[in-house]
Symmetry: C2
Subunit: 470 residues, 2 copies
C-alpha cells in the first residue's frame, strides 16, 4: 500500500484518508489474451517439412480435443502465474465484482455474495469489454463467440464466422488451417480502420486458401435443425440453419453450418459498475467510457484505460502501456502521455499483417494524396523459397511525407512473422525515421524483414513490383 504525493497536492485532498491509494476495477487482459495466445500458438502448427527432406506422411489428422486440452492447461498456468506476480507486488487482489457508491467508494461483492466497502483516492476503471451478439432470433441460443471456441467439446465442423474484424478473420484463418470448411460473412468492408489495400490482400489470400467470403450479407435468423438429421454426419456436432439477407439487393439465403461464431465487436463492461453514482457522464455508444488525453474521466480522481475506452485501440499492450504511463503520472516522476498513434499491431491471419502508424487512407486524409510518396514491393518470404509456395505472396509498403523530408508515417507488412518484424520498426517510426534512414539501414540476410531496407519503387511510378525479389 503506497501513498500518492503529487496528485494529493493538486487536489487539495491531503486530509482524506482512504483504505487504498489506488483501486483498479477489472482483473485485466488475462482471459482473452490467453485464449488469443493459444489460438496464435495453435496456428503455428504445421509447416512444409516435406521440402526439407523430412518424410512426414501426406495426410496428418488433427485432434481437436487434444489441442483444446493443451490450450486449457496453458490458460490455467497463465492465470495462476499472473496472480502470483500480483502477490509479489504488494497488491491486494480482491476477487469480487465492484460498483461505485460515490467517487471514492466502491462496493465489492464476491462469489459467496459477501459485500465489502472500500475507499480509495484514485480509481481506475479497466473492466474491459464483452463480445457482442446481434439481437436476432437464435443468436444467443445456438451461436458462439471466440471466447467459447477453445472450450468446445468437439471440433466446430463447418463454421460460419460473422463479422470482418481481426477477430473474425483470425478465427476463420485458424479453423481453415485445421482443415475445416469456413465461411466469413462480411457486412461491408474487411477490417474497417485498417489500410484497405492490405485488408484486401488478406481477403484474397484467405480465399485462395479455401475460405469462402459472403459479401454484403447479414444473418437475420438462426435455427437449430433436428438433431440426428445432421447433414454433416459429425457425431455430436449440431446443425444450424442460418438465414441471411443481402444489405443492398435484399436477397435472402439459407445455409447450413455446424457452428456459427459471432465476431461483430465488443461492448464495454460498464453497465454494472453504477458509474452514475460517482457522477461519471456521459457514456458513449456501446457503453464506452470517455476520457481526456490523460485517461481522466469527467470525475477528476477516476480514470479509465483499456477496452472500456471509446475510440481507442483494443489491444493488450495498449492497456498495459496506458496503465504504466498512468501510474507513473500519478505516483512517479514522469508526465508522458500514452501515444495512441504509433501503436504497432498485427493481425494473425494465415499470412500475417503488421502495421504501425497511418493507413494509406488516413495519411491521404491528413496530408493530402499529393504529399505522399509510397514505396512498395512484393516479395517471396524467405521461409517459402525452398518449399516453392506461392510466388511473391509477401508485400510491404512505406508511406512517406514528401514535405517532411520523406518522413515515414505508416509501415505495412504482409508476410510471415509480422509481429516480430513490425515491433522494432515501430521504434523507428516513434523516432521520426525518414525513408533515407530505412535505406541506410543494413539488412540482416537471410530474413524477411530485410525487405523493408530495400524498397526502391514508388506507387506513383506505376512500376510492376509483383516480380520483386527478396
Amino acid at each position: 500500500n503506497f501513498r500518492a504525493s503529487k496528485d494529493q497536492q493538486e487536489d487539495g485532498e491531503l486530509d482524506a484518508t482512504y483504505d487504498y491509494d489506488l483501486v483498479v476495477i477489472g482483473g485485466g487482459s488475462g482471459g482473452s489474451a490467453a485464449s488469443k495466445e493459444a489460438a496464435f500458438l495453435g496456428k503455428k502448427s504445421r509447416n512444409d517439412s516435406h521440402a526439407f527432406g523430412w518424410n512426414t506422411p501426406d495426410k496428418v489428422r488433427h485432434d481437436w480435443n487434444k489441442m483444446v486440452e493443451k490450450i486449457q492447461e496453458h490458460i490455467k498456468s497463465l492465470n495462476s502465474s499472473y496472480q502470483e506476480e500480483l502477490r509479489d507486488k504488494k497488491v491486494d487482489y480482491i476477487n469480487a465484482y465492484a460498483s461505485f457508491l460515490d467517487p471514492h467508494t466502491l462496493k465489492t461483492v464476491d462469489k459467496t455474495n459477501e459485500e465489502r466497502i472500500i475507499t480509495a483516492q484514485h480509481i481506475v476503471i479497466t473492466t474491459g469489454g464483452i463480445l457482442r451478439y446481434p439481437s436476432i432470433p437464435g443468436a444467443k441460443e445456438y451461436c458462439i463467440t471466440s471466447d467459447d471456441i477453445f472450450s468446445l467439446p468437439h471440433s466446430p465442423g463447418k463454421t460460419l464466422c460473422v463479422g470482418a474484424s481481426y477477430i473474425a478473420l483470425e478465427c476463420a484463418g485458424f479453423l481453415n488451417g485445421l482443415g475445416l470448411e469456413v465461411e466469413v460473412m462480411v457486412r461491408s468492408i474487411l477490417l474497417r480502420g485498417f489500410d484497405q489495400q492490405m485488408a484486401e490482400r488478406i481477403g484474397k489470400n484467405m480465399k485462395e486458401k479455401g475460405v469462402k467470403f459472403s459479401r454484403g450479407f447479414v444473418p437475420i435468423k438462426i435455427e437449430k435443425v433436428q438433431d440426428g438429421s445432421s447433414v454433416f454426419r459429425l457425431g455430436r456436432t449440431p446443425t444450424l440453419k442460418v438465414t441471411s439477407k443481402h444489405q443492398e439487393s435484399g436477397e435472402i439465403r439459407e445455409d447450413m453450418y455446424n457452428t456459427v461464431l459471432f465476431a461483430i465487436g465488443r461492448d464495454a463492461c460498464t453497465d454494472e459498475i453504477a458509474a452514475e453514482k460517482a457522477g461519471i457522464i456521459p457514456f458513449s455508444r456501446f457503453s464506452r467510457v470517455i476520457v481526456d488525453e490523460a485517461e481522466r474521466t469527467n470525475v477528476k480522481n477516476i480514470f479509465a484505460i483499456g477496452d472500456v475506452l471509446d475510440g481507442k485501440l483494443e489491444l493488450t499492450p495498449v492497456a498495459i502501456q496506458a496503465g504504466i504511463r498512468l501510474s507513473r503520472r500519478l505516483y512517479g516522476s514522469q508526465d508522458s502521455l500514452m501515444d495512441y498513434i504509433n501503436v504497432p499491431t498485427v493481425i494473425f491471419t494465415p499470412i500475417e499483417y503488421g502495421s504501425v502508424g497511418l493507413s494509406e487512407e488516413a495519411a491521404i486524409e491528413r496530408f493530402g494524396a499529393a504529399d505522399l510518396e509510397i514505396y512498395h514491393k512484393s516479395f517471396k518470404p524467405v521461409e517459402y523459397t525452398l518449399p516453392k509456395k506461392v510466388e511473391n505472396v509477401g508485400y510491404a509498403k512505406l508511406i512517406c511525407i514528401k514535405s517532411l523530408n520523406e518522413r515515414v508515417v505508416g509501415l505495412h507488412y504482409f508476410g510471415p512473422n509480422a509481429g516480430e518484424v513490425t515491433q522494432g520498426f515501430a521504434l523507428g517510426l516513434k523516432l521520426n525515421a525518414s525513408k533515407a534512414d530505412f535505406d541506410s539501414l543494413v539488412g540482416i540476410h537471410p530474413t524477411t524483414a530485410e525487405v523493408l531496407t530495400t524498397l526502391r519503387f514508388t506507387k506513383a511510378s506505376g512500376q510492376d513490383v509483383s516480380k520483386g525479389k527478396c
Copy 2:
C-alpha cells in the same frame, strides 16, 4: 554505360576515355549467400506439431539426398534470376577472371581461355573470400568446408566441425538438427568479437541439444581409415581419423568421424588479381585489402568492398549497402559513408542470436563499466509456451550509457526469429534510441519481440531474471 561527372572533375581526368565508367571485379555475394540461405531454410524444418494436436509420427526419417536436391534447385534458380536482373539494368556481365595491368586497365580471361583488355575510370574490387584450410596433413585431401556440404552425395554422418565462428556453430547446429552426431572443436573462445555472455548461451544451448564441444583442442593430422573397415557402418561414407592436440596441456587425442568440416576463417581472393600492377599496397594479413572510410584504396580510382576488406564485417548486406553508398558517392548526389557500427547481425544457431551495436565487452572498453546500465530478462518464447519446451530459454539485454541519458548502444537477443526481431530495432539504434524510448514503445502481443519493450531489471541490481515472463 553511364558517365561519371563528379569524380572526373575532381580528378581532372575529363579527357581520358575508358571503355567503362565503372568495372566491378567479382560477381558478388551469390554462391555462399545462396547456400547459406538454403542451410537456413533447411534448419527451419521441424516443429512441435504434436503439442498442437497434429498426429505426426514420433520417428520421422530425414532424407539427405532429397534435401540436397531441393537446395541445388534453389541455388540454380537464384543464380539465373540474378543474371536476369543484371541484364535488366544495362550492366555488361563478363563471365571471366580479371587481373590488373595498370590502375585503369584489366585483363579478363574466360572459360575458353579467351583474353580481353578493358579499361575503366573506376574499378571496385569485390572478389570476396575463400574458406581457409589449415596446413596440416590430410586437411585438403579428406576434409570439407561449408561450401561443400550441400553437394555431398551422402549424409555427412558423424561430423567434426573445426572452428568457433558463426559458420562452425551454424553448421554444427544444422547437422545436429537433422539428427546427426556432431562435435565442435574450439581452439580458444566461442565467437570471437561477439558478446561473450551471449556466445556462451549459444554454446550451452547447443550442448543441451547434444552437440559435443572440445575446448582447447586443435587438429594436427587427418587420416583416412581403410574403406570397408568403417566403424560407423554408413554405406559410402568414409571414416576419418583425427589427431588433435590440446593447446595448453599438450594432450593428444585420436577420434573417428565420417566428415571433418573446417570453418576457421576466410582468405581474401586477391592473390590472382595482380594488384601490384595497379600500385595497390600494402595488403594485410589473409590477403585483405586496406581502404579508407570511403572504401578507397591507396590508388585513387580503385575501391574495394565486401569480404576482401580488412577488419570489416563479412556479411552479404554489408557488401550490398557499401556498394550502394559507393555508387551514390561516385555517381549520385549523396555523400554518406557506410556505417560499419550499427550493423545488425544474426547467428542462425538452433536458438538464434541477433545483435546490433556494441557487445558488453566493447561497451566497457569504450565507455567504462561504471557508465553502463544493462537491462536484461530471460523469457519463454511465445512459440514454446504450448509445446512446453525448455523454460525461459530466451534472453534479451540492452546496453545503455548512463551519461548519455541511457542511450542504447547495444541490443542482444537470444531466441527464435532473431533476424526478424533485430532488423527493425537496428533502425532505432541508428536513430539514437534511449531506454525511455524502448519503454514507451507499445508491444505487439503475442510476440517474442515485445520482450524488448518490457526490460525492467538491471544487471547491477543482481535480481534473478531467470523466472521472467514474456
